[in-house]
Amino acid sequence: MNKNMIYIEGVAMTRFDKQPNTLAPELAQSAILNAVKDANLTLNDIEAIYCANVFGGMILGQLIVRDLQLQGIPIYNIENACASGATAVHLAKHALLAEQYKTILVVGIEQLTQLGGGTIPLQLNDHKTRIYANSGLVLPSIYAMRATRYLYERDEDPSLLAQVAVKNRFNGSLNPYAQQRTPTTIEEVLSSRMIAEPLTLMQCCPSQVDGAAALILSTEHNNGRKPVKLLASIVQSGMQEKYSDDILDAEITARAARLAYEQAGIGPNDIDVIELHDAFTIAELIYYEALGIAKPGEGPELLRSGKTGLSGKIPVNPSGGLLAKGHPLGATGVAQMVELTWQLEGRAMERQVNKPKIALAQCTGGGIAGVDHAASSVHILGI
């Protein structure tokens, strides 16, 4: 085996749904045990655990594994807002490449139903964020302002945004792990309750959702299936916004993607399937261009062409994305890679895309004012 190669040996996730009667450890343990089984390993083969979570409180990782009869292996708790899960994979990669461990478990877990509803709270330990939050800045409003500017600059109609929801809700209807499993129509999306103009309820990822996802990373391949390899792993942080910034640039995502392509030695045209961070419909459109799968200004054309549909040239969010699955923050980045591993291995059942070889996962973490996003992560997987 190439000692610099990292394999995704096993993956699993729970259904994303409202599960208020299930504790976080139980959700996470379900994903962990299934991922270990999927890798044809035992828990004793795991040498370290990276646990991604945002709102679950301190030492959640240790709580999750307390009753698994492990022998005191290192457990690391990681938080990078919505990019926590992907960041955990990134850090696990470092440890594997440094030969600190051979086999690592990454688990992402979140229980948003425990927050009681409403928008995700911002990080208020900051003058700027606090002043802006007092004036009404919430995560949906940030994306809504991007959508307003997008429709203005591109001379587009809100129905374009609704098409993203229609596509992803259809994909979600084929995904037993998604919270929202009914297809929808443009009319239904546009007539759902207005949240922050022009974004209606069905253009926002569900915020009342719980879920966990896990994967096993290793420098050894022994699961009996064709190896899925981690070809690139990038994490970037937001830079202080300037007056001249274009809020449609998705600068941090474009930067992370560029670095990921360089690391993998490929370009956007080599990508066969993508899971990206469609927390709101406008996000998917903006990320088409930031990821380089559409030229600047050509995102709407790409969506309308059908090429990002399940049977298209470059399916985007075959899982249904965050819009259909829901977005349990700590779990999302890991769940994206679970889905992409299934896709690469031909195990995605009714939502299987056509023989992908290279997959890309992208997520962003927000919650402070003054940056595009606080964190962005891009991973490239290959088979």
């Binding site: 003058h127 700027k128 606090r130 002043i131 802006y132 007092n134 004036s135 009404g136 800045l137 919430v138 409003s141 809504a144 302002m145 991007r146 959508a147 307003t148 500017r149 203005y152 309750r193 207005m194 949240i195 922050a196 103009e197 022009p198 974004l199 202080q240 916004e241 300037k242 007056y243 001249s244 910034d245 809020i247 004012a369 003054g370």
Partner: protein
């Protein structure tokens, strides 16, 4: 304890304040706090409160809360260039490119009031 930085000066009418980075000349809002370790890299900058709406949204709170929809947005203040977020006050709907005046507000710290053209 209110630790919000004071970002209106004492002139009549009050003018908003930002901070200019000494090297890059970039202006940030709100101004750097005087006890911040970063204060040494910035100088105070009085801003021109007249600006242009860059983007906006209208928030529709849940009906259960009994709060009327309200507009918020980013306004570009071009003279000492900085983009600032805040509540928008106007009759009718906002539109990108509309002119707004930044004014003090006891509830929000500042608002942007549309200037009739």
């Amino acid at each position: 304890m209110d630790i919000t930085p004071r970002y209106w000066n004492q002139s009549i009418p009050p003018m908003p304040l930002g901070s200019m980075h000494k090297k890059s000349k970039e202006i940030i809002f709100p101004p750097v706090a005087k006890d911040s370790p970063l204060d040494i890299d910035y100088v105070d900058q009085e801003l021109n409160p007249n600006g242009t709406l860059y983007s906006f949204t209208v928030i529709h709170p849940s009906k259960k809360l009994g709060i009327q929809p309200y507009a918020i947005g980013f306004v570009n203040l071009p003279d000492f260039p900085v983009r600032i977020f805040g509540r928008l006050v106007q009759s009718g709907s906002p539109a990108i490119g509309d002119k707004y005046l930044m004014k003090p507000d006891t509830e929000f710290g500042h608002i942007f009031e549309k200037i009739s053209q």
